[in-house]
């Protein structure tokens, strides 16, 4: 921003003007007003780094234009005097004074006659346009001030004709640029005010313009940021008038930027929401902060130009400027999310239906498969009891095999049912004494296998927030395995403990058969067995069940083992979700 002229630079003019005191006094007053206005513009522009500052710039330039036009009208009147008066000395001095004043102003100033032809230019206008005043004089303003849109470079209509015809003040679009005589393009802000003669008729126009490269840069950056935002961005003032939208907003709502400028934000809402919104807007501007729009689960909707509506997520943030607080609304069409949510709910329903089906299936598995097994075992047993003496030894052995096979299949069915129960059951966590639980499971094992002596050491005070029903299943499997795989060991020993005090990582360790670590990856897969059928009984479902229990508690399970030295199963208990 160029420095404003200091008072000292106009002193010579003021002294010279002493012979035409009234005119000079008026010019000085005009200049002072102009300085004040220019200073206001300077303050506004240098302190505001946002788009709203541009509006203030235009206001300041408009004020300058009005004052300059007032001053110029006196000059034109002076010309008339010059024609009539023989002693026109005072007017010529005033002309010089005026030139000094105009040239000391940092804005470009061009005066036109009532036909829009250039009458005079100040120095800044010459510099900016690249035209010498002498060369420009008499040329139409549009030729000297070639204005184009910043982005498209299409010619801009100057409001000059309107100003001359109607006597109103006009200004350019915010994205105006000036093409200089050398073809250089400079972003400018400008304002045009009518100049009236003594008779009150419009004698011409004063065009005030300035290089707004720096302001435009800041503003361009701001607009680029908003333009790059994935959401539709709408900036509105506290009265609801829309002052800026990005390209996404035009796509989302179907209005052009120009149409948006005539709208209030309420018009972007379905009719039913407009009334309440105006009230909400007032509340927001009393306490502006960054927050999502709408309360709780109230679904917000946006309304497009064609009247259709869409579910919207809207977040608001305040934009404080010298012109007051604006609200920046980021609007997103959440139709896809909503649809995904609906789809998710449908999928959940389908999954639940499938679960119920699975439950019914499990139930019938329990009934329909177990009943014939009972008959196979029961009648084989009956045959042995009633006709055993009549059968050869090998026949009796075959029947025993039939019975054993039926029992194994029964266990398999039971384990599968347990696995499915673990999977579909709800996890109900409660403070659980794992020490007591492990002891209970171990004593059951001891009673079921009275022929074996296993040393079981269970640490005191193992506590966890888990579903006790599920962890009983887990311990039945882990301790059952440890029990099973220590069968061939001289001094079988099982330890249940915790890695360190207060830790939620537990372990079950045995000194049994162990396994090769390279096969550990298959441990937790259902029906995967690491030992041959004849070695250790089992169906390979137990550890899959344990893993599911641990996973349902957001925990992790892993094993360490060595062939012939035993295995340790570690598991953690995670936080409830």
């Amino acid at each position: 921003m160029a420095k404003r002229p200091k008072a000292s630079s106009i002193e010579p003019a003021a002294r010279q003007g002493s012979r035409s005191a009234p005119l000079v006094a008026l010019l000085i007053v005009s200049l002072l007003v102009l300085l004040v206005a220019a200073a206001a513009a300077f303050v506004a522009l240098s302190s505001s780094r946002d788009g709203a500052g541009a509006a203030r710039t235009l206001i300041a330039i408009s004020a300058s234009a009005a004052v300059v036009s007032l001053g110029l009208s006196w000059v034109l009147r002076g010309r008339e005097l010059e024609a009539k008066e023989v002693e026109g000395q005072s007017v010529r001095v005033s002309e010089e004074e005026l030139r000094t004043i105009l040239d000391s102003i940092a804005d470009g100033i061009i005066a036109t006659d009532d036909a829009g032809r250039v009458v005079r230019m100040n120095r800044v206008a010459e510099t900016l346009s690249g035209w010498r005043s002498s060369a420009a004089r008499g040329k139409p303003l549009a030729e000297v001030l070639q204005l184009v849109h910043e982005g498209s470079h299409t010619p801009l209509d100057s409001p000059l004709q309107q100003v001359l015809a109607k006597g109103v003040t006009g200004s350019l679009a915010y994205d105006a640029t000036l093409v200089t005589r050398d073809g250089e393009v400079i972003p400018i802000g400008d304002s045009i005010a009518p100049i009236r003669g003594n008779d009150g008729k419009i004698a011409g126009a004063a065009v005030v313009f300035r290089d707004v490269t720096r302001e435009r840069d800041g503003e361009t950056r701001f607009r680029r940021v908003l333009g790059a935002a994935p959401d539709a961005m709408i900036i509105a003032k506290d009265d609801g008038c829309i002052s800026f939208v990005n390209a996404q907003a035009t796509v989302l709502f179907g209005y052009t930027s120009q149409e948006f400028a005539t709208l209030k934000v309420e018009q972007l809402l379905p009719e039913s929401m407009r009334g309440p919104h105006a009230a909400h807007r007032r509340v927001y501007h009393e306490d502006p902060s960054v927050r999502p729009m709408g309360k709780g689960n109230m679904p917000l909707r946006g309304r497009r130009r064609d009247g259709t509506t869409f579910p919207a997520a809207i977040s608001l943030s305040p934009l404080r400027t010298h012109e007051g607080v604006f609200a920046i609304a980021a609007v997103r069409d959440v139709s896809a999310e909503r649809e995904a949510q609906v789809e998710l709910e449908r999928a959940k329903e389908r999954a639940e239906a499938a679960n119920r089906e699975l439950e019914a299936f499990s139930y019938s598995v329990a009934h329909d498969l177990r009943a014939p097994l009972r008959s196979i075992d029961g009648f084989s047993r009956a045959l042995l009891e009633d006709h055993g003496p009549a059968l050869p030894e090998s026949g009796r052995a075959d029947l025993e095999t039939v019975c054993a096979a039926a029992r194994r299949m029964g266990e398999l069915i039971d384990d599968l049912l347990a696995l499915s129960r673990v999977t579909r059951g709800e996890v109900r966590r409660a403070p659980t004494d794992l020490t007591a639980l492990a002891r209970d499971v171990a004593s059951h094992l001891a009673r079921r296998n009275p022929d074996r002596t296993v040393e079981v050491e269970i640490a005191e005070g193992l506590q966890a927030q888990v579903d006790p029903r599920l962890f009983r299943v887990a311990f039945e499997n882990l301790l059952g395995n440890a029990w099973k795989f220590t069968r061939k060991v001289g001094a079988p020993r099982i330890i249940v403990g915790r890695k360190s005090e207060g830790d939620r990582a537990f372990f079950v360790q045995d000194n049994g058969a162990g396994f090769a670590m390279e096969r550990a990856g298959r441990l937790f897969v259902a029906f995967q067995r690491l030992h041959r059928d004849g070695e250790f009984e089992g169906n390979g479902i137990g550890l899959a069940t344990v893993e599911r229990v641990v996973h349902q508690h957001n925990g992790r399970i892993w094993a360490e083992a060595e062939v012939g030295k035993g295995a340790t199963f570690h598991f953690t208990v995670g936080e409830a979700t």
Partner: protein, 142 residues
Amino acid sequence: MSQLPPSSSRPHRILLVEDNAEDETLALRALNRAGAPLAVTVARDGLEASDKLRSATYDLMLLDLNLPHVHGLEVLRNLRSDTQIAQPPVVVLSTSNEESDVRSSYDAGANSFVRKPIDARQYNEAILQIVRYWLVLNERRP
């Protein structure tokens, strides 16, 4: 094998409600080892069971849940809500051990719930123990 005490005046009367012929045979084989005279009446579905309960009194009822026509639980509820009928202890014999089945059986008024084991020896033992338990308890009642 535990032995049943001989009834003082008459054989213990048992109503076995079972639709599956094989299960019925196995249950009868088990009861035959009771070592005391038992009069076992068999009903093959829920309707028949209700009829038999109305026409005679029993010392114990062994009830399968999965019955045609009228479900075992329904038979049990009807029995418990009918004040005109003498109320025997009821032992539910079920293939399933689903928690829901256990709970609803007790809620309907069952006295015991036994899951039928696949192993015939375990099955015999289970039936004998539970039958003995209820019949002895009956004997001691005034």
